[in-house]
């Protein structure tokens, strides 16, 4: 059974290889090859899952050694896999949701002439992400980590004929590089501290290292996680990444990429448990991002960017939970899985809406679409109810646990973090209700300006219609996941018992009873809902965005993240390079050019001696001879 682990990564990798090198002859069936190999990977995952369920205890961890990659003295880098409950959870999520997104893309990308290539990249994305979660050492994890970065770059910039897409891809890649730098240094420090990269020994001996080193490693790992998971301060790439085709957004936000940071922190739990400072930094990053993303999500009129803000916020919840230590790891992963379902569903729904609306993304030009796209409406609606944490649906079970865990941290920290998480739940309810109302309810606001434009070229009127079956079926399946996954995981705490052997779990002590927190969550939820209804349900939504308050305008600009980066990083960088160029020109070039000029000037003067007159040559000869004779005589005399 163990040797099948390699095939998990191998199948999509093979797909990427075939599709990217196969050429045009595969154009007609290429997308089905991509789907098939993603599905094969999922099937293998299910097989291994069934096998794992049959075992118990430590026997559940499977390992598979493929080959020794870099064997140099004490530096041993192996390509070997480790499949435990944590990896298994990720494998099923990545391949399951990934396969659904593949199938959806068949319909979504139907008229794109580079569809084969698109599927090749999708497969590459899956393979890299699977490598990331299956690696049994940090070096191989880093390979997968970089692979994910590469695939995301290729996919975000897939429509590279649009300059905005090309820029967004570069931005994502560069911001990720900053995080990758953190991870790579963390891996190096780890090697010098523990003498190995392998998870087992590193995590087992984590407590033996000095506190300073552990904190350093923890913070560097956090930097890596911030880059991949779009956490403050490396969050700026996520919004622009919406330039990619919608299935890519779904893949990045639900199954791959942004979940990598949560995986990294949970996997390195032993290190963080031993480094409270790093752990505190993780919770702070999570809490700040949670609010940051939520506020941005409230102000965006672009449906995909609003969803991107919500992803940032939800990942913030996961990072916050992962930073809480053993009381939170399980819930971080549980929220990650439920979020995988409903966020994929929401993005695919948004893609379906765009598909029916001539690729319009401005929600102010939607409205009243529920009768035109019933399936999209229902599946999107279920995803919406799940993400705001409506009682009984997936998001309720997982998010509620995180809020409880935050309060259970105890002390002032616990109250602050819990309060932030609770506030975040309210804002989530507000912005998601806003998206829902602006898109599916109210009057229809599309097809107006075409009529109003006098004498202008008639824009094609949008004819909202339901998407083809390849797109609706994945949405329906994901909607089922959004509704039932959380509940299933919570029956007898099944998810807790499943993951506990890997991540460990301790029950926290709540400062107030759980019922009070749950009630508070529901109250906050109702307030958020009500506010959104007051503003976007009761009144008509203006087709042109009102000026808005200072906060709204800032949030529309992503809370000035790009302006901040520009002032704090880009400008100083430019000044630095300008200074260096000046030094190069004046100091380095000055020395070189000065030497050359002085040699040139000297030889110019010496040249004048060559005047062509025999008599002057004769004089110099005589002078020279006289000098020689004088010197000889002088030497004699001495």
């Amino acid at each position: 059974m163990d040797h099948l682990i390699g095939a998990l990564v191998g199948a999509p990798l093979l797909g990427a290889g075939i599709l990217l090198t196969g050429g045009r002859r595969l154009d007609r069936i290429g997308h089905w090859i991509g789907c098939l190999l993603a599905a094969v990977s999922f099937a293998i995952g299910v097989l291994l899952f069934a096998d794992m369920l049959g075992k118990s205890g430590a026997a559940r961890t499977m390992t598979s050694h493929l080959f020794s990659w870099v064997p140099v003295a004490s530096f041993q880098a192996n390509v070997s896999f480790q499949l435990d409950q944590l990896s298994m959870t990720f494998v099923l999520l990545i391949t399951g949701v990934g396969t659904l997104i593949h199938i959806y893309s068949v319909g979504y990308m139907e008229y794109d002439e580079r569809r084969r290539q698109f599927f090749g990249y999708l497969n590459l994305f899956l393979a890299a992400m699977l490598l990331l979660v299956l690696a049994d050492n940090y070096l191989l994890l880093y390979v997968g980590w970089e692979g994910v970065g590469l695939a995301s770059y290729l996919l975000i910039g897939f429509w590279q004929h649009k300059p905005s897409a090309a820029t967004a891809a570069k931005k994502a890649f560069i911001v990720n590089r900053v995080g990758d730098m953190g991870l790579s240094i963390a891996v190096m420090v780890m090697f010098t501290t523990f003498g190995t990269f392998t998870f087992g020994p590193v995590l087992a001996h984590a407590t033996s290292a000095s506190q300073a080193k552990l904190t350093g490693i923890g913070l560097l790992l956090l930097l890596g996680a911030c880059g991949k998971s779009a956490q403050v301060p490396l969050q700026s790439w996520l919004g622009d990444a919406m330039e990619g085709p919608t299935p890519v957004s779904a893949l990045i936000h639900a199954a791959t990429m942004v979940t990598a940071g949560v995986y990294l922190i949970t996997r390195s739990g032993a290190i963080f448990n031993a480094a409270p400072t790093a752990q505190l930094a993780v919770t702070v990053v999570g809490a700040v991002t949670l609010l940051f993303g939520a506020i941005v999500g409230c102000a965006k009129d672009d449906i995909k960017k609003a969803l991107a803000g919500s992803t940032m916020s939800q990942i913030g919840y996961m990072i916050l939970a992962a930073g809480l230590g053993p009381i939170g790891y399980v819930f971080a992963i549980m929220h990650l899985v439920t979020h995988g379902f409903f966020k994929a569903g929401l993005f695919l729904g948004a893609g379906s809406v765009m598909h029916g609306m001539n690729d319009e993304v401005d929600m102010r030009k939607y409205g009243g679409l529920r009768t035109y796209m019933p399936i999209t409406y229902v599946t999107f609606g279920l995803g919406y109810l799940a993400i705001i944490g409506f009682p009984g649906l997936s998001g309720y079970w997982s998010k509620d646990k995180i809020i409880e865990a935050a309060f259970a941290k105890g002390g002032t920290d616990g109250w602050i973090l819990g309060g932030v998480a609770l506030l975040g739940a309210g804002i989530t309810a507000f912005y998601m209700t806003r998206v829902m109302l602006m898109t599916f309810f109210g009057d229809k606001r599309w097809g107006r300006e075409a009529a109003q434009e006098p004498g202008g070229v008639a824009q094609p009127q949008p004819h909202p219609h339901e998407a083809p079956k390849t797109m609706t079926i994945p949405m329906i399946i994901l909607a089922f996941g959004s509704v039932f996954a959380g509940g299933l995981f919570s029956i007898n705490s099944s998810f807790l018992h499943w993951l506990q052997p890997v991540t460990g779990h301790t029950e926290g002590h709540l400062p107030v009873s759980a019922a009070v927190i749950q009630a508070a969550t529901l109250v906050v939820l109702a307030i958020g809902l009500g506010l959104a209804w007051r503003q976007y349900g009761r009144q008509a939504v203006p087709a042109v965005a009102p000026r808005g308050s200072l906060l709204t305008r800032a949030a529309r600009r992503d809370l000035l993240q790009d302006d901040f980066n520009h002032v704090a990083l880009v400008k100083p960088g430019e000044y630095l390079t300008r200074g260096l160029v000046y030094l190069d020109h004046s100091l380095v070039d000055g020395a070189v050019n000065g030497t050359a000029a002085s040699v040139g000037g000297l030889s110019g003067r010496l040249r004048r001696l060559q005047n062509g007159y025999v008599r002057s040559y004769a004089v110099s000869m005589f002078g020279g001879a006289a000098l020689l004779v004088a010197a000889t005589l002088l030497m004699r005399g001495v």
Binding site: R607, Q610, G612, Y613, V614, R615, F622
Partner: protein, 99 residues
């Protein structure tokens, strides 16, 4: 007669020759001055041979004559060719070899 007087004569001749080379413009005169310097050297050689009572200086004088003869052949040929092309025997007219 004191042989040292011949050395004074040789020095005088060499000085006249050297001054001629540096001062005169006519190539033939310059050439003659060079010969004068060579012969001053020869005189000094022979004088020293007499002073030291060996034949080294006398033998060297023969070599100098041979070299001077060869040099005259080449030198005069150059001067004649130069005169034919430039209609001048002034060394200042032969000043093209400069930068």
């Amino acid at each position: 007669m004191n042989p040292v007087n011949y050395l004074y004569l040789a020095a005088l001749l060499f000085t006249i020759g050297g001054a001629g080379v540096m001062i005169r413009r006519n190539a033939i005169i310059v050439f003659m001055c060079v010969e004068l310097m060579l012969n001053a050297c020869n005189l000094a050689f022979v004088t020293f041979a007499r002073l030291h009572d060996n034949l080294d200086g006398q033998i060297f004088a023969f070599f100098t004559m041979v070299v001077a003869a060869a040099e005259v052949v080449v030198g005069l040929a150059i001067i004649v060719t130069f005169f034919r092309s430039r209609h001048s025997a002034s060394v200042d007219d032969a000043s093209l070899m400069k930068l």
